[in-house]
């Protein structure tokens, strides 16, 4: 069963088409990664899912309801963490957490205290004195201490330090362990790789790739570096082999996953001494789709990423 299903969603702001026929499906019990550069429409999609923005056209179902019409009933069953948390300056962090919990329909006090301890957050400080990371923690604790079916997280870890990032990942696993579903919009690719069962990559208001990480990897080429006793010949004639380059007496090439077996059969004839094979990282998958829109930036980004 899908907890979120979006078909052909369109939203325009003035003349700008922010969402241009977006499709997205999040299944029960999964952590779904939602990836895309700034301004690609991630937050707009999430705001429509929360009933904060009206859609222009398309089908949107969330927890089997209409996000705009059934907003209040649906909001009892989901929790939201925005990417940029603003709070009432004169309330304490603890008060803000309790307030969000109560407005959502209740809070597990035991979970709340445990989360405060795990995230090392002082609930007696006034919200105006919190740093960005601590405001983020307030929203995370308020959301995670609510017992709901779906968690909508819009870049929730921006501003958290690596230690807290690890705590966050553990807590997300706890949520899905208890049967909840998570939509996680993120820039932190390591976080997505660690947590997500499936990912959707969005670009210019459309989802350009969607599937499990292994499915996505399957679509991309594997990089193989090989060192042989005798010079390798005949690589160019093999199917699915690209970008053959000699590097320091070794050969580096890219191969489509389904032709890997054939390539290995070819290589052993030249006495293989060393061989590494690297599947594409999420970063490379991401940059492949990112890249076209900014051709010049592409090589710089890819180079910097390695």
């Amino acid at each position: 069963m899908s907890v979120i299903s979006i078909e052909n969603l369109v939203k325009t702001f003035g003349g700008v088409r922010a969402l241009d026929g977006l499709d997205l499906r999040v299944e029960q019990g999964e952590v779904h990664g939602f990836l895309g550069p700034n301004g690609s429409g991630k937050s707009t999609t999430i705001r429509i899912l929360l009933g904060l923005l009206r859609r222009d056209s398309g089908q949107v179902r969330i927890l089997d309801g209409d996000p705009w019409r059934d907003a209040v009933a649906l909001h009892r069953r989901l929790a939201y963490v925005p990417g940029d948390v603003n709070l009432w300056p004169n309330l304490s962090g603890g008060e803000a957490i309790d307030l969000f919990g109560a407005l959502r329909g209740g809070l597990d006090q035991g979970r709340r205290d445990e989360l405060l301890r795990r995230f090392d957050l002082d609930p007696t400080k006034k919200c105006r004195t919190y740093s960005k990371g601590n405001r983020q923690k307030v929203a995370i604790v308020a959301a995670f201490a609510s017992d709901v079916e779906l968690y909508v997280l819009d870049e929730p870890t921006s501003g958290l330090d690596p230690l807290m990032e690890a705590v966050f990942q553990e807590e997300v696993r706890n949520l899905t362990g208890a049967g909840a579903s998570v939509l996680l919009s993120s820039h932190v690719l390591a976080e997505v790789e660690a947590l997500c069962d499936r990912v959707s990559i969005i670009r210019e208001g459309r989802v350009v790739e969607s599937g499990s990480l292994s499915e996505l990897r399957h679509l991309a080429r594997t990089t193989v570096t090989v060192e042989t006793a005798r010079p390798v010949t005949g690589l160019a004639e093999l199917p699915g082999v690209h970008e053959v380059r000699p590097v320091d007496g070794r050969v580096r090439l890219e191969v489509e996953p389904e032709h890997l077996d054939r390539l290995l059969g070819h290589l052993v004839r030249f006495e293989v001494r060393a061989l590494t094979s690297a599947p594409p990282t999420l970063e490379e998958l991401f940059l492949r789709h990112y890249g076209d829109s900014a051709d010049n930036g592409r090589s710089a980004l890819a180079g910097g990423a390695r």
Binding site: L53, L103, T124, K126
Partner: protein, 541 residues
């Protein structure tokens, strides 16, 4: 590199940031001064009326408390007595806000850190703020002196009066320089300095109430508390009579002391830190907070309490002063006519009391606008989105805010009527009857405030991005139509645009039900428009 490196650059930055504010401050002060001088000259044209005024000024406790001592019976002295409180409070508060804006606010937002990492001396930020604010006060005082002189007052007196008011601004520049070092937040720094203004007002009022009338005539010898108050010093300059120029050294001395204290505090603390620790709050929310109503009450109660204190003090004073109305204006037909125009009816005292309640209704309109626009601020700050992502419907959320504002307005209006009635009743006898009558009269003004709430709500729903500017514009338009419309001879059709023109001017005239019902209906239609449009729209920042 000295501790002052970069001061000139930062001062230019402050001027650039505040070019519009400063222009309004400097230009506005002289315009207000000119307008008030002209209108006072119209009300007290000859020695006879001015003697009457001075007699009241020195005998009436209320006049002493609010206006302070009168220096003599020259026209200029009357102008100073009538304008001093307004202009001095403006100078004090504008100076305070400007100093805090360019010191503590920079630290709070992290801008000071960026600046401090550049080639900027430790004292440069504070010094630049002081240079700009003292400069603005000097310039404003110079223009004010020209304005007074332009209204036909003697030159020496004009300069003394303007310098007295500029001195108040300079004195509170020194106070704000210190409070900006004490509190971590600009709100806190502003609140501390505003509290200092309040204390200064009370000290001066106490000193002048306790003062002794001099045997030779209308002059008042203020008691010692006046001399402790920067607001009191300005009244002791004695402009347009026997000017005491040396008194002007007092605010300068306070500035020097304040700046010295501020420098030594700045030397001892880290950037961004204060000397007063930020207060902590409860780790858990009280159950009363955990609903839209509870949150709305929590966010509004501080402002409401402040308004209540101000309304109660003003109401009591206006009520007590009502006792003196007959005496005060018996010999002054111009003033009597002005009051009759505002209040209506034929009984002068009733007209006066009705006019006061009308002024309260207009002022409390500002409370309604401010309370309701908070929801727009929450929307553009991004606080509203996570709230609407909880199980609270838009209708319930906005409805709660409107109810809260209407509740606050009702309480304040009732308080205004009750305190005015109590003050007048205590002064004339029969406090119970007057309290009940004016409390009721206050509540009868509510439909006009409902319309104000409706206008703001409808604007928030229909045109959120414009709602702040348009809401204040509407309230100011109501104010101008209500208070100046009759004076300016505007056509009745224009006056009818203001809801305040339709509420019956009780107790000066009898209650009429139809306009109250019609206003309530208009308010209901506007509120419905706001709720419906808010339900159907996006939530723009």
């Amino acid at each position: 590199m000295s501790s002052f490196t970069g001061t000139v650059r930062l001062a230019r930055l402050a001027l650039r940031r505040d070019r519009i504010r400063l222009a309004i401050w400097v230009g506005g002060t002289s315009l207000i001064g000119y307008a008030l001088a002209e209108s006072v000259a119209g009300l007290y044209p000859d020695e006879q009326t001015r003697l009457g005024y001075a007699e009241t000024a020195v005998t009436s406790v209320v006049a002493r408390a609010f206006n302070g001592p009168i220096a003599g019976t020259d026209l200029g002295a009357v102008v100073v007595t009538e304008t001093y409180l307004t202009l001095a409070l403006l100078a004090a508060l504008l100076s305070t806000f400007a100093v805090v804006r360019h010191t503590r606010q920079n630290e709070e937002t992290g801008r000071a850190e960026l600046l401090g990492a550049a080639a900027i001396g430790r004292y440069a930020l504070l010094t630049a703020a002081l240079v700009v604010v003292v400069g603005a006060n000097v310039l404003a005082a110079a223009l004010l002196a020209v304005a007074f002189a332009g209204a036909g007052l003697p030159i020496a007196g004009s300069v003394a009066a303007a310098a007295a008011i500029g001195g108040v601004g300079v004195a509170f520049t020194g106070v704000a320089a210190v409070t900006a070092q004490l509190s971590v937040t600009s709100r806190g720094a502003n609140a501390l300095a505003a509290a200092a203004v309040g204390v200064a007002f009370l000290l001066r009022a106490a000193g002048d109430v306790l003062g002794e009338r001099e045997i030779d005539g209308v002059r008042l010898e203020s008691a010692w508390p006046t001399w402790l108050s920067p607001l009191g010093w300005g009244t002791q300059v004695g402009a347009f009579a026997a000017e005491r120029w040396w008194v002007l050294a007092l605010p300068v001395a306070l500035l020097v002391v304040g700046v010295a204290v501020a420098y030594s505090l700045a030397e001892r603390r880290d950037v961004g830190a204060g000397l007063l620790a930020a207060r902590r709050g409860p780790a858990r929310a009280a159950s009363g907070l955990l609903s839209p109503t509870g949150l709305s009450w929590r966010l509004q109660r501080g402002a409401l309490a402040g308004w209540a204190v101000a309304v109660a003090v003003l109401g009591l004073s206006m009520g007590v002063a009502g006792h003196e109305v007959d005496a005060m204006i018996a010999e002054n037909p111009a003033a009597a006519e002005a009051i009759a125009q505002l209040g209506g009816g034929s009984e002068l005292v009733d007209a006066y009391l009705a006019a006061m309640l009308g002024l309260f209704a207009l002022t409390i309109g500002a409370y309604v606008v401010q309370a309701l626009l908070r929801i727009r601020a929450d929307e553009s700050d991004g606080i509203l989105e996570p709230l609407l992502a909880t199980a609270v419907s838009r209708t319930r959320w906005l409805g709660t805010q409107v109810l809260g504002a209407v509740f606050g307005a009702s309480a304040l209006m009732l308080l205004a009527g009750v305190t005015t009635g109590l003050g007048y009743g205590l002064a004339t006898g029969d406090p119970v009857a007057w309290t009940v009558e004016l409390g009721w009269a206050g509540l009868l003004r509510l439909p006009a405030l409902l319309v104000v709430a409706g206008v703001v709500t409808a604007l928030f729903g229909a045109v959120p991005r414009w709602s702040v500017a348009l809401s204040w514009t509407a309230l100011i338009a109501f104010l101008l139509l209500g208070q100046l419309g009759a004076v300016l001879d505007l056509p009745q059709a224009a006056l009818n645009l203001s809801p305040y023109s339709h509420v019956p001017s009780v107790p000066a005239v009898d209650v009429t039900v139809l306009p109250l019902v019609a206003l309530t209906a208009v308010a209901a239609a506007l509120l419905a428009t706001g709720l419906l449009t808010f339900r159907r729209r996006d939530t723009p920042t």
